[in-house]
Structure formats: structure tokens, C-alpha cells
């Protein structure tokens, strides 16, 4: 594999020829916020938090789906990017009902962490207070749509790693929601293996274990990556 040279925030960085800009940023010990991205799952470029400036590119580029190129000059934090990121996080908070104080994920939530990272303490956009549902039909888990940010990590982990495809996205625009099966209560979808992978990778308090109380959720987003790695390297064979 060839190694490419690029510059990130003025620093010389080398990256594998098949790396994404996000991988290059992280391997250089730098940071850019992400929500929809999760190592091990197909990237979708949906949350737009990882947008970076690449010199010579007319538009901002999502680091998670952009391939590195030799000589690329990348900036992860410009005044413009910082402004847009903060606005994006405000929009996330305004579109759902994120009442952290009574949330299972409080303290272990990636949305919360990103809000801290971008310096957001309140939303300048009016809260929409959407009326959404809680699906508690599954024997072990629950889905609180009020806290879903539509990152589709659950959709992808269930489809790509558990290979069941219980989840999908239904409807359009602000009516979009995660749906189970044919838009059924989750507990009625016989295909669900109760593996809990979707719960583990959910960045917020939307998917949680029934026994979790407020502030008690322990997500394990890294498991998706570990599973993929273990499978590709046949950790369970020839031991």
C-alpha cells in the first residue's frame, strides 16, 4: 500500500493510500466531531459534522467519506467551520426532545459530548418539541424516538454486521423516523435476534436496555469495529 503525504492544520501527516481524510486526521492525533460515522460501518456522510476545508475544493467535504490524495491540504477548524458545526449541533437539539437530565445516556452521550466540544450551551433555534413515540414493545430494549438523531448507525449495524436488517428509515424530511420491520412495533419483528448491537452503537439515549435508568446507559460503539476486525482476521478460526 502506498503512503501519501498530506497537510492537516499546517502539520505534515502521512496516510495509507486507501485512507479517508477522517482516518488521516485521527491518526495524526487531531480531532473533528462525528456522529453518523462509526468505524466498522459503511460511512454515509449524513450528520455533516466532520466537514472540513480542503484547499482547491470549491465545497466543504465530509472527512468520513472523502479519500485522501497526495499533497492534500486540509483544515479541520476554521471560523466558518466552527460556526457551522455549532449551528448543526443546535439544530440537532432543536429538532428532537433532548432533556439530558432525565435521559439514560446522560454523561455517556455522543451528542452531548459534541455539544461540549463545539461550545454549545443552548440552542438559538426555537425547539420544535415534536410529538414522537416510545417503542417499548421489545422484551429487552426500548426506542425513544424523541432522542433519535437519525444517524442510522442502528440501521447499518443490524444490516451489515448482524445481517438481519430489522431497522430502516421511514417517511421524509422532518417526519423521518427509524422503523422496525414493516413499520411495526420492534417486539413484533420476529427477525430480531436480541443481539443488542443496535443499542450498543446508538450514540444517544434513543436505544437503550430496559433495565437502564437515567444516566446509566453504557454504550459500546467500539464493538462494531472489533467485530468487523475479528471477522476479517478470523479470530475464531484455527486458534
Amino acid at each position: 500500500m502506498t503512503t501519501l503525504q498530506l497537510q492537516i492544520n499546517g502539520r505534515a501527516v502521512s496516510a495509507a493510500g486507501d485512507a479517508t481524510v477522517l482516518e488521516a486526521i485521527r491518526s495524526a492525533g487531531l480531532q473533528v466531531p462525528t456522529l453518523c460515522h462509526l468505524d466498522g460501518l459503511t460511512p454515509v456522510g449524513a450528520c455533516r459534522l466532520c466537514l472540513v476545508v480542503i484547499e482547491g475544493h470549491p465545497k466543504l467535504e465530509p472527512a468520513c467519506v472523502t479519500a485522501v490524495a497526495d499533497g492534500m491540504v486540509v483544515h479541520t477548524h476554521t471560523p466558518e467551520l466552527d460556526t457551522y458545526r455549532r449551528m448543526a449541533v443546535e439544530l440537532f437539539f432543536a429538532e428532537g426532545n433532548h432533556v439530558c437530565a432525565v435521559c439514560v445516556a446522560n454523561g455517556a452521550c455522543e451528542l452531548q459530548a459534541v455539544a461540549v466540544e463545539v461550545g454549545m450551551d443552548h440552542s438559538r433555534f426555537p425547539y420544535q418539541y415534536p410529538r414522537r413515540q416510545v417503542d417499548a414493545s421489545h422484551p429487552l430494549f426500548s426506542l425513544d424516538h424523541h432522542r433519535c438523531i437519525l444517524c442510522t448507525r442502528c440501521v447499518r449495524v443490524c444490516d451489515e454486521i448482524e445481517a438481519v436488517h430489522v431497522w430502516d428509515v421511514g417517511y421524509r424530511g422532518s417526519s423521518c423516523s427509524i422503523i422496525a420491520g414493516l413499520d411495526q412495533p420492534w417486539g413484533e419483528v420476529a427477525a430480531c435476534t436480541n443481539c443488542g448491537k443496535c443499542v450498543d452503537v446508538c450514540p444517544t439515549g434513543a436505544l437503550f436496555r430496559k433495565e437502564d435508568g437515567s444516566g446509566e446507559k453504557q454504550p459500546h460503539p467500539e464493538r462494531a469495529h472489533q467485530l468487523v476486525e475479528a471477522r476479517t482476521e478470523h479470530h475464531w478460526h484455527n486458534q
Binding site: A46, L60, T83, M87, E95, R124, F125, V169, G173, S174
Partner: protein, 486 residues
């Protein structure tokens, strides 16, 4: 020798009572002298019928009883330059014999004698640019697809046409479907494609019916030389016109865009290199190959060649379908062709929800890609809506923003949540209860949604707001209930 009639049998005239007019004419001169045809252009006056007299003269009448005579020497007709629409209104769209008698498939036959590269060369020389909105050079796109190392490729026609105020593609599909099939077959030959798809929205039932008939007839005749052309009916989501969303939808998935690259030319339908063009783009191709690329390039401006079809509507006496040379001024279109009295127009909206408004003071702007873009509007696919003083600009902007709220696919945050907030901000201006801070917020959020959205829908959703702010800022400021603090 009596007169023979061509009766418009396209959607607008059907809705206005074309069937009654046709029955009357059939009773008068006999069914064999009355031919159903596609759009006769002045749709707003429909139903329309044209009488072809034995002496070669033609008359145009309108109204269910044919009671109104229209002036064919009016600039509305005289200033048209029909290339894409050259057979629309002349042929029976359901008759392949009629189409062939009037020249259909001749260019395809000729192009089969040419090497694919020579075909691409003519398209490149013509200077034709995509008519779906973005204006990418068609020859370059064909070249890119042809150059991919893959044993086969796919050709896709984008007939989704979801912009409010646009009906150009529908007119081609309803008026001269064989023209599209011929253009697609030429493209398939040029890029080495073994299959072709037409993606058309379900809201176009007549277009779908005529396409089915045309494909069936063309296959039965063998004119397509074995190229299978399949119809795919979309449910009618605006975002499904975005090329990557459209391809997902054909594949049976959810119609949501994905980040590009890879572009469809490299990896499109089921991973195949895919050529995707708009209806009007394909429909221009047969004439280009028949007359040569240089002939086409001689029309239009330095960077915008040929002709463009527009759907002219709004606050003007003449509404309908026009095809004009690129570079024609908006004033010519609106005042001469549309017959709008001077001084009546407030602005012309082009490009639909992705476009913007050109104010009356700039009516001398030529219609070409660059001129419109420099004014913060776009050519778009060809919707052109004339706005008069009765329309308040924040309200117009809100109309388009609400459209985007409803049509966002919801995949990316800025478009899904940002358009909702933008529409609510616009509510405040329409209801005249905005604050100075709202105006700042509005502009900032427009900038953010434009710069950060995943696909063209979100990236261009703020355009109607930004362009009305640019030229009609006073209307927004007047809606601020508290005084503006400098």
C-alpha cells in the same frame, strides 16, 4: 381539398377540454382528418387546435368550440426556435409511422455507421450542456462514461421533473416520445451501454402511457437494435430527481442521495458506469447528429449553445411552452412573447426551488447559464414564473422553502432540520413580526444550509431566500416589527 386538423392532446389541453374540441372537429371534417398531437405551445389558452389548409397556410384556434383565433404571427410563435420541439405538435405521439415519416430514427441509423468516438465528438462540438439544471457539458460526460474500463455501461434518462412550474420534459414525453428513445439509443451506442432506463414520475400518467406505446412500437420495429429500454415509475419525490437518489430508487432502494464522488459516470446503477441525462438533453441529440455539432453550436451564446425550452407561467397573458435560442433576453420572453405590458413585471423566477428571482430592472439579462448564475438565480430545468406586484417576496421565498421542507429526504441534518427553521423564520417575515435578529439568523442559516447540505436539494434550498434578499431586501426590513438597530 379540405382542411386537416391537429388537435393538442397533451395534459394541459386535456384538462381544458381537448376531447370536446376534437369530437366537434371530427364530426365536422371526419375522423381521418383530425390528428392528436403534442403541445401546441400556448397552453394557457387551451384547448388548442391547428388547421392545415390545402394552400399550405395554418390557422390556430382555441376554446372548446374553437371560438378564438390565435395570431400565429405573434412574437410568442415567431420568436420560437424549435429544435427539441421540432416535431412536438406535428406528429401523432402514438404513431411510430408518423414519427418515422417525419424523420425519427434517421439520425440513429446514420450514427450506427459512425464510430462511437465520432458520435461523442459531434455532441462535444455542439456545446450542448445538461438541461437538468447543473449544465454539465454533455459531450464531456459521455466521454467520461465511455472511457470507463467496464465491459458494459448503463444509460439512464432523468424524467422525474419535480420543480413546481416546470413541464418541459413532460411536453417532450407527451408530444414526441420517439425523440427521447432515439436520443437514448444514440447515447447507448456512443458510450457502449447494453441497457437503458427511463425514470419517470407517476404523476405523469399520460407521458408513461405514451412512452410504453413508443417503446413497444420501437422494439417491434427493431429500430432500437436490441437496446432494451425499461420504464421505472417513481412515486414523485422531488429528491428522486437528484441523480444518485434516482439510481438508488431504480435499484429498489430508498430514494436518498449519497455523497459524490464516486460520480455515476464511474459507479452508478448497480456499480456500472452510468450515463444519466435529462429528457431535454437526450431530445436535443438527434438534431445535433443530423445537422452536425457545428450547426447546433452556431445557436446561442459563447458558453450556452443551442436552444432551451421553458415553461412560461405566472402573471402574464401568454403562458405555455417556448423554445428559444440561448441568449434571448428575459424582456423578449416576458414582454414580447408573454405579452406582459411594460412595467407590470416585478421579477422573473427561474430554476424553481433551487433558483432565484431576477428583478424587473434586470429584464435585459440574456438567458444563459452564466448570466443567470451571476444574479444568484439559475437556468435550472426551465421553469420560468413571472411575478407581478401582488406577490410579496418573503411569501414567495416561503413557498419554495416549504416545498423543500416537504421534499427533503431527511438524510442529512442541515437540510432536514435547517429548512424547517428557515421556513419558520420566513413565517415571521410574512406575518410581519420579525426582529432584526431574525434577519441575521435567516442569512446565517441560509449560508449554513447551503454550505453543509449533502445534495443539491439542501445546497440550493436557500437560493430563493438569498436572491429575494439581494434584490428585495427592503421587503424583509419592512417586516421587522422593532426598529432596525445599526
Amino acid at each position: 381539398m379540405g382542411v386537416s386538423w391537429r388537435c393538442c392532446d397533451a395534459t394541459a389541453c386535456r384538462a381544458a377540454g381537448a376531447a370536446a374540441l376534437r369530437q366537434r372537429l371530427e364530426a365536422e371534417v371526419g375522423a381521418d382528418r383530425v390528428k392528436p398531437v403534442g403541445c401546441l405551445r400556448l397552453c394557457g389558452m387551451g384547448p388548442l387546435a391547428a388547421a392545415d389548409h390545402a394552400d399550405g397556410s395554418t390557422e390556430l384556434v382555441a376554446g372548446v368550440a374553437g371560438e378564438r383565433r390565435l395570431d400565429l404571427a405573434h412574437p410568442f410563435f415567431l420568436l420560437q426556435r424549435s429544435v427539441v420541439l421540432e416535431r412536438c405538435g406535428l406528429v401523432n405521439p402514438d404513431s411510430i409511422d408518423d414519427a418515422i415519416a417525419q424523420g425519427a430514427y434517421a439520425a440513429l441509423d446514420r450514427c450506427r455507421q459512425l464510430a462511437p468516438q465520432a458520435v461523442i465528438e459531434q455532441v462535444a462540438r455542439s456545446g450542448l450542456r445538461g438541461r437538468g439544471g447543473a449544465g454539465y457539458p454533455t459531450g464531456r460526460k459521455w466521454q467520461l462514461v465511455a472511457a470507463q474500463a467496464s465491459p458494459t455501461r448503463a444509460v439512464v434518462c432523468n424524467a422525474d421533473e419535480g420543480d413546481p412550474g416546470a413541464f418541459m420534459d413532460r411536453a417532450v414525453l407527451e408530444g414526441d416520445p420517439h425523440r427521447l428513445l432515439e436520443g437514448m439509443a444514440i447515447a447507448a451506442h456512443a458510450v457502449g451501454a447494453a441497457e437503458a432506463f427511463i425514470y419517470v414520475r407517476a404523476e405523469y400518467p399520460l407521458a408513461i402511457e405514451r412512452l410504453r406505446t413508443a417503446i413497444g412500437a420501437a422494439e417491434a420495429r427493431g429500430v432500437l437494435a436490441g437496446l432494451p429500454i425499461q420504464l421505472r415509475i417513481g412515486a414523485g419525490a422531488y429528491v428522486c430527481g437528484e441523480e444518485t437518489a434516482l439510481l438508488h430508487s431504480i435499484e429498489g432502494g430508498r430514494g436518498t442521495p449519497r455523497p459524490r464522488p464516486p460520480y455515476p459516470a464511474v459507479s452508478g446503477l448497480w456499480g456500472l458506469p452510468t450515463l444519466i441525462n435529462n429528457v431535454e438533453t437526450f431530445a436535443a441529440v438527434p438534431a445535433i447528429l443530423r445537422e452536425g455539432g457545428d450547426w447546433y453550436a452556431a445557436m446561442g451564446t459563447a458558453t450556452s449553445k443551442g436552444t432551451k425550452v421553458f415553461a412560461l407561467s405566472g402573471a402574464i397573458p401568454h403562458t405555455g411552452l417556448i423554445e428559444v435560442e440561448m441568449g434571448t433576453s428575459l424582456r423578449t420572453i416576458v414582454e414580447a412573447m408573454g405579452q406582459s405590458p411594460p412595467g407590470q413585471v416585478k421579477a422573473v423566477q427561474t430554476g424553481g426551488p433551487s433558483g432565484g428571482c431576477v428583478p424587473a430592472a434586470l429584464l435585459d439579462t440574456p438567458v444563459d447559464y452564466e448570466s443567470l448564475q451571476s444574479l444568484g438565480s439559475i437556468m435550472g430545468s426551465g421553469g420560468m414564473v413571472v411575478i407581478d406586484g401582488a406577490m410579496a417576496m418573503p411569501e414567495l421565498a416561503r413557498y419554495f422553502m416549504r416545498f423543500c421542507v416537504d421534499e427533503s429526504c431527511g438524510k442529512c441534518l442541515p437540510c432536514r432540520a435547517g429548512t424547517v427553521q428557515l421556513a419558520q423564520l420566513l413565517d415571521r417575515f410574512v406575518e410581519r413580526r420579525a426582529t432584526a435578529a431574525d434577519l441575521v439568523q435567516l442569512e446565517q442559516l441560509c449560508g449554513m444550509v447551503k454550505a453543509t447540505s449533502l445534495c443539491g436539494l439542501g445546497q440550493s434550498a436557500p437560493n430563493p431566500v438569498l436572491s429575494t434578499l439581494r434584490f428585495f431586501r427592503a421587503e424583509y426590513e419592512a417586516a421587522i416589527s422593532a426598529p432596525v438597530v445599526p
